[in-house]
Symmetry: C2
Subunit: 346 residues, 2 copies
């Protein structure tokens, strides 16, 4: 692996008989040269096998074209696919991404943000939940969050209320005798978290249509075993209390919905006739489950695109001679899509 010597502006100047200033103008303001001279320099770059050094250009222009990302994990498909879609916006906007996985460690994430700032990122996308938006807003760089508490910063979120409303309406259309919503949020009184909208959509639909319903709030941990134990208890309880009745379950994510499907199929040898089930997210597991699961699909590609777009708008504003920064954070919502599969096909 022999290292080639880097070709410098000096080398290009000598080769073309132009001044170094002219070469510099070619890179930073090519239209200030005649087309003919531009072509002479372009040809020289090929002849000399010149490799662009963006680090050097950054120092001249101050624009790194870097966006930082802090993502909680890549274990959940939702985050992996969101990162995939954010990275794919390179084709539209040209920004490069420096990615850190926080794993829910608040202090670690602060350290990562410091590191990103040292690399002069132009903007920051935050998906992790640890650092309050008030603190993020004090970083004084353009920020967009996705699906987390966002009071003091710009954000893009799924219309969770609409999702909850759609899911409940699908269960109601099948004439369930009682409808349940199972959610992992701490408390129904935390409307700062976007996912809370799912609870409100469920409650509003049931109350507007005078439907018998129950809200079950339970933190179930992150392991398959722990989720299985909690859901097994819940299933036993409602099977006993509503025996012989048609039960509609809206559950707040597909991982948990799949655990329910497995419990039911292992017990009955098939998906039982007196249960209907709707999940949330349209994760791959909802399709790959033994009984494909009806679910509320988040449009992850749109969420990612809108987030980068909103960030780029803020970054571009800052580059103007007289920037007019936002006076209030902008919050965008993306509509979810209901997918009907076998768990609501009675």
């Amino acid at each position: 692996m022999k290292q080639k010597k880097n070709v410098t502006f000096n080398d290009i100047a000598k080769y073309t008989n132009f001044s170094k200033t002219t070469i510099s103008r070619y890179f930073n303001n090519p239209d200030s040269l005649t087309l003919e001279n531009q072509e002479i320099i372009a040809k020289a770059l090929v002849d000399l096998d010149y490799k662009e050094n963006k680090v050097a250009r950054i120092l001249a222009s101050g624009n790194t074209e870097f966006i930082g990302i802090i993502i909680p994990n890549l274990f959940l498909h939702y985050y992996a696919e969101m990162l995939n879609q954010i990275l794919a916006t390179y084709e539209s906007f040209g920004y490069k991404f420096l990615v850190f996985v926080g794993n829910g460690q608040e202090e670690t994430e602060r350290r990562y943000i410091e590191e990103l700032l040292a690399y002069k990122i132009e903007g920051l996308i935050i998906l992790s939940h640890t650092i309050p938006s008030k603190e993020l807003s004090e970083l004084r760089i353009p920020i967009v969050t996705i699906e987390r508490e966002d009071k003091y910063v710009c954000s893009v979120n799924t219309d969770n209320y609409m999702g909850g409303y759609q899911a409940t309406s699908l269960l109601a259309s099948h004439n369930c005798d009682v409808i349940f919503h199972i959610n992992y949020i701490n408390s129904p009184a935390n409307p700062d978290v976007p996912a809370y909208g799912r609870v409100q959509g469920f409650l509003d639909f049931c109350e507007e249509h005078h439907l018998k319903h129950e809200l079950i709030l339970k933190q179930m941990g992150n392991t398959y075993e722990s989720i299985k134990n909690y859901l097994s208890d819940i299933l036993e309880d409602i099977t006993k209390r509503y025996s012989g009745l048609k039960k509609g379950l809206f559950i707040s994510n597909d991982t948990q919905a799949n655990v329910l499907v497995n419990l039911l199929v292992r017990k009955y040898g098939k998906f039982p006739d007196d249960f209907l089930l709707v999940g949330f997210d349209n994760s791959p597991i909802s399709q790959e489950a033994v009984i494909p699961i009806s679910t509320v699909g988040q449009q992850i590609d749109k969420l990612a695109y809108e987030a980068v777009k909103l960030l780029v708008e803020q970054m571009n504003e800052r580059k103007k001679r007289r920037p007019a920064p936002l006076t209030e954070p902008v919050h965008k919502v993306v509509t979810p899509i209901l997918l009907r599969r076998e768990t609501t096909e009675m």
Copy 2:
């Protein structure tokens, strides 16, 4: 969002009454200053609210501390978890990662590599399969690949041969009458691809132990539906041909193993007694399947760590006054781990 003026070395020099050279020495070679002077400067940085500008330091040192990553997709859990583990090595090695998702587009990936080189990455990790290792080796920067053709570059791979051997041995220990290996590779005659080792491990074990066996090679596409159609045909065929016999299936990934479990459970209402099944990868689906699937687990954390370590060794070598580059590519292997679950518990 008012932008603060950047604090320069000049400002620090004025504030401390040291020369700019002394300030520069503090950042680049602090031990050349007395402890007392180091403390004076450290205090000044706090007083002045100095923010480190790594971009400026890069230009001084030439070391960006960037590693580029080209990953085929983030849809498969294997790649998402590999990226997660690679990013986590920041805590051990301090390198930052610029990530691109190639989606199997050879020309796009070439473009991404150009972009990464323009940002003066110090090394490159390649997981995608599109660009031949010969071409990669000609980039003349340190490269490590993971689980792909690697003839001309350094690599870290799972010991796929050992994995195939282990899986077949588990099926044999349950006295199967016939053992199958279903794999998606093109041809058994492509030993350049690491996953080919799984086939060889299967064949060698069966031949050494004189077991009745069949090798089924079939490209099944990437969608759940297309995989389901192919596996449904295969299942029907072997059920007919080996009726009443105990059939052991070793299948080359957990996504496909899960499809098989679903087909069997939907047909029989449970996992049938005359089938045994072992997958590969230890993806989450292997645990979350309606019948938890026995599988050969790749140690993704170790693969990622070893890959970055091998890359860092090459990068450090280049920084020496008299680098001694590798004369031959280094290929490391990581042992897989067999996980016994319900599909081999007859």
